[in-house]
Amino acid sequence: MTDLHWMTAGDAARAIAARELSPVELTKALLERIQQLDPQLNVFIRLDVEIAMAAARAAEQEIVAGRPRGPLHGVPVGIKDIIDVAGLPTTCHSKILIDNVAATDAVCVARLRGAGAIVLGKLSTHEFAIGGPSFDLPWPPARNPWNNAHHPGGSSSGSGSGVAAGLFPMALGSDTGGSVRNPASACGIVGLKPTYGLVSRRGVFPLSFTLDHVGPLTRTVTDNALMLEVIAGHDPLDPGSATAPAGDYQRALERGVRGLRIGFVRHFHQTDLPADPEVAAGLENVAGTLKSLGADVRDIQLPTLGEFAAVNRVILQSEAWAIHGPWLRERPGDYGKLARRRLLPGAFLGAGDYVQANRRRLEMIAAVDDGLREVDVLLCASAMDPPSRIEDAEETERTYPRQARTPFNVTGHPALAMMAGLSSRGLPLSVQFVGRNFAEATLFQVARAWEHAAGTDTRHPQIG
């Protein structure tokens, strides 16, 4: 079997279950690729070869004994290093937590392991999922496999880069202002921020309690749905956990979009934050393709990106200050410069600011709900620019906030970002689909229709 590194999680799981592929063979192939490519991508903070190989051998024995654990049996996964994996440090890519060894698995990790997945190690992030890309931290920032002079997006940088580079078929990330969808956009893969509360946050280091989501990053829409099926579900010990039942997210994948109503939020990229022409052309191409496949595509109006961003910022900075205040007072020098600057503003916000933001938030939730009564799914930009050059701090600072992801952290609606094509310089362009709460299956249906039409699942960076 060739090109094991481009195998999807679903195909690998099926081949392992049929005893056509050994989990040991797959894990070994990926570890070899990691050894070869990670020095130029900086995906891993901690790679645990021995533990991964021991898990692969155990998975093989379980298959031979006829005891498969679940739908991801023997499939390797990478974990963003703000998510606990028992026995490994959760550093949050920061000197602050450099010795913080997790006692137990986060719920999402436990669910992956329960389904048979093999944890390869911990992946680089922006410091505390907010400060990056930074060169003043204990580990370097991850780089983009399409061109390693470019940023892979963040904050789930290692998750996006590693999936796109074929180091593992799936990874966990977290998303507070777009941190799953940004690397998915920059690396040309599929990243989902599920409905708020659908995936447990227990065991995930918080950035902003009411904006934090955990989500899957994969190379295909089908794998994303598969991974969500494994990690979704109520957790009585996560106070934000939803009680709505988790679904069968693969059921509508191949139904196509005929008859579906898709609301194109053009003002996000046309007037709110005018996008790079190639990004705008990519979005028009997605909309036109879905229309040609039978969808009813129409324009729709939401509050402006500026309004969403302001509310997101006040809530995020207030909640993050509540978490980081003690360290910022006592150990300010142990943060990198970017994290320190992005976490300190909360000290200057008042209780009234926070309450006002949350009052406005409720109105914004209602506005998006109203929009989603008119249509089944929203289509809009994710990033307004192709990925920036990672060592050009000015370009990164300019382009990083030019995005349309934070609205759906504010409102909690599920949102999926994926490749829309490639720029003339060979860098990924992106599109975002947004659905009604807990309607991830419909999101996957639309995303799969686009993927199938454009062949985005077979486009990989020329690396390795």
């Binding site: 009411t210 910022r313 900075q317 205040g325 600057r341 503003p345 000290a347 200057f348 916000l349």
Partner: protein, 60 residues
């Protein structure tokens, strides 16, 4: 926000050490916070509730 106000608010937040070691970062943060609030519109309806609402649970 002027320098004296920034220093006053930073001290009130317990950031004496941070202010001494990273005065530029503290000043930048104060400006960012001021900008964020200035850009945020208040709710249109004075009776608007914040999210999430207080909930008493299932009563069991």
């Amino acid at each position: 926000m002027d320098k004296a106000m920034i220093e006053l608010l930073a001290r009130r937040a317990g950031l004496e050490k941070t202010l001494a070691e990273f005065p530029d970062d503290v000043a930048t943060a104060a400006e960012q916070a001021e900008r964020a609030v200035a850009r945020m519109k208040g709710p249109a309806d004075p009776r608007a509730e914040p999210w999430p609402p207080m909930k008493a649970g299932a009563g069991r």
